[in-house]
């Protein structure tokens, strides 16, 4: 029994470079948007903006600490800088600059981290598996993990309109499209309840939406009633939506392309523990760095699969019913 929802395309497809186009469109719509790159122009899809608005594009070379602090200086003067690199470099390498020059002043800087989680083939130096955790730890930082091409296309404008610092991780190049652009509306700080259910609530962010949808279909086939919450904003978390779904389901599974510590699993655990304690299972990478490999291989190896989500859901349901873990 396949799960269907009016917001979701019946036949998911792929879009090439949704960010590239959305950023160029944003440049046309907003004269106060400036773009910084760190020697990764095509790799972070800033090339079309650079072609169309060369005077508002600044390449600072492979120097992310400088890139972030320059962006703060631009933001202090009223510009809206979009800062680009791979997620690892913006968060690991430039962490103090993000903290001191951006977060500490709520500077209107938008940090765009490409290649989320286990989607880089270059191994652990390039795999952003704790970026959400690092960014979520900073006071006032808004943290997004985008799911598909529709969400990327819509989020760019939302990020520009949002007041204050944002870290957004997303995919580039061939990006799966799951949401129907005519029916889905992305909003920062809003989770989307795609299905309600009495047995277990699956909460996913970023690329894990697709395996989460598959897991929901599998659970439905087993005669269970799973809820599905798409949660692209980790901070500020849409607590009201999450708690309403968790209250009805009585058990929760979080799913993320990230360590289970510090990201979505931790964020949901915190809000559940404070307001609505119930069994929680977290699907994600477990306290390890990953090896190099293709995303398909790595997602399988580190348990980022629909099968792992189904197993976690069954464990959570079992715990709710008082059974053994």
């Amino acid at each position: 029994m396949a799960f269907v929802h009016p917001m979701l395309l019946k036949q998911p497809d792929a879009v090439h470079g949704p960010y590239r186009l959305a950023l160029a469109d944003l440049g046309a719509a907003r004269a106060d948007v400036v773009v910084l790159g760190a020697d990764l122009g095509n790799s972070t899809e800033v090339d079309l903006f650079r072609e169309r608005f060369p005077e508002r594009f600044f390449n600072v070379g492979a120097a992310e600490q400088n890139e972030v602090a320059i962006a703060a200086g631009l933001a202090f003067e009223g510009e809206v800088p979009f800062v680009h690199s791979f997620g690892v470099f913006l968060t690991r390498r430039a962490y103090e600059q993000v903290c001191v020059q951006v977060a500490m002043h709520a500077a209107n800087v938008k940090l765009i981290g490409m290649i989320p989680g286990l989607t880089s083939r270059l191994g652990p130096t390039h795999q952003a598996i704790e970026d959400l955790s690092l960014m979520r730890a900073l006071p006032g930082m808004t943290v997004l993990d985008l799911a598909d091409a529709t969400e990327v296309a819509q989020a760019v404008r939302a990020i520009a309109d949002w007041r204050g610092p944002v870290y957004a991780r997303m995919m580039r190049r061939e990006v799966r499209r799951l949401f129907d652009p005519a029916r889905y509306r992305f909003e920062i700080a809003r989770a989307v309840v795609l299905r309600e259910g009495d047995d277990v609530a699956i909460v996913s962010c970023g690329l894990m939406l697709e395996p989460a949808i598959e897991a929901v279909s599998e659970l439905l086939a087993r005669g269970l009633e799973p809820a599905l919450v798409h949660c692209p904003t980790l901070k500020p978390l849409d607590e009201a939506s999450l708690l309403a779904v968790a209250r009805r389901a009585g058990a929760v599974v979080t799913v993320e392309n990230h360590l289970v510590t510090g990201g979505l699993g931790s964020a949901v655990a915190e809000v559940l523990a404070e307001h609505q304690p119930c069994p929680l299972e977290r699907v994600g990478i477990r306290d390890t760095f990953a090896v190099p490999g293709t995303p398909e291989y790595l997602f399988e190896r580190y348990g980022l699969t629909s099968r792992a989500i189904v197993e976690a859901a069954l464990r959570a349901i079992g715990r709710k019913r008082g059974g053994p873990r």
């Binding site: 400036v34 600072v60 602090a69 510009e79 020059q101 500490m104």
Partner: protein
């Protein structure tokens, strides 16, 4: 402000530094005394600004990178009327806006957070890029220390400033030869600093940073129109300038002045006749 008045002003500011350090239980006084001439020259003679309109878009920006020099900036801002002079006596009290290190947004005229070293030249590059992009004609002054030249980010920023030919960016380095662990040449020798900045593509001036005639001459050259590169004045200064027991004494990274030391400092600077401010 003419040169003679500036020299008198610098002396008055030194008196104020010592009095605040004395009355409020301590400060990074030796650093403030080494850098005060460079900062005074910029604020009273070169930077266009209006204390009544601290957010005036046309003002020249002044960014302090080593936040530990906070007190030197505070006495200048208070003297110029950015805030009430009496608030100087609340320096580093709990709840006071006059924090031990500068943080952007805490006080009018404080435009950078510099407590963590080596970051603010980059912020200045961002501000200078903005000014050029939006055809604004103000300058961005960035005050650095020699100790923070150890930080790699400084050189990332130096490269970017030269690459973008930011002639509206003027840096000043208080080069007093000391950092926390001792003389810079012993901790990490970054000399020759002037050659390094020249090699990075900057226009470099170097002079005695406590000699206001030399400092103003050098700054005038760096601020003239028609330049195509960022400029830096490397001011060779004396840590604790003017106070015998502070000059060149690495024991005083942070300085507490009891009444006897306060009197001695005033005596060193002004002779026996030392009225409190």
């Amino acid at each position: 402000m003419d040169l003679d008045s500036l020299k008198n002003k610098a002396a008055e500011l030194r008196r104020l530094l010592i009095e605040v350090a004395h009355r409020t239980g301590g400060a990074y006084l030796a650093q403030a005394l080494s850098g005060i001439d460079l900062m005074a020259a910029i604020h009273y003679r070169f930077a266009r600004s209006d204390p009544a309109r601290p957010d005036w878009p046309g003002r020249d920006r002044f960014l302090l990178s080593p936040g530990h020099y906070a007190l030197a900036l505070y006495v200048i801002l208070a003297d110029r009327g950015y805030f009430d002079r009496e608030s100087l006596w609340t320096f580093k009290e709990n709840g006071s806006a006059l924090e031990l290190a500068t943080h952007r947004g805490t006080l009018p005229g404080v435009e950078a957070s510099g407590g963590s070293l080596g970051q603010v030249l980059s912020v200045g590059v961002g501000m200078a890029l903005h000014a050029r992009l939006r055809q604004q004609h103000h300058r961005v002054f960035v005050m650095m220390s020699d100790g923070e030249q150890d930080e790699g980010q400084v050189w990332e920023a130096a490269a970017a400033a030269a690459h973008y030919r930011l002639s509206n960016l003027v840096a000043v380095m208080d080069c007093n030869g000391f950092q926390v662990d001792g003389p810079t040449r012993e901790v990490l020798d970054m000399e020759p600093l002037a050659d390094k900045y020249r090699a990075f593509g900057w226009e470099v001036e170097e002079c005695d940073g406590n000699d206001l005639d030399a400092v103003c001459g050098a700054l005038a050259r760096l601020c003239r129109d028609g330049r195509s590169r960022p400029g830096i004045l490397i001011g060779r200064t004396v840590r604790g300038k003017g106070v015998s027991f502070l000059e060149g004494n690495p024991a005083f990274h942070y300085t507490r002045l009891d009444p006897a030391l306060r009197d001695q400092a005033m005596n060193d600077l002004f002779g026996a006749d030392t009225d409190a401010v």
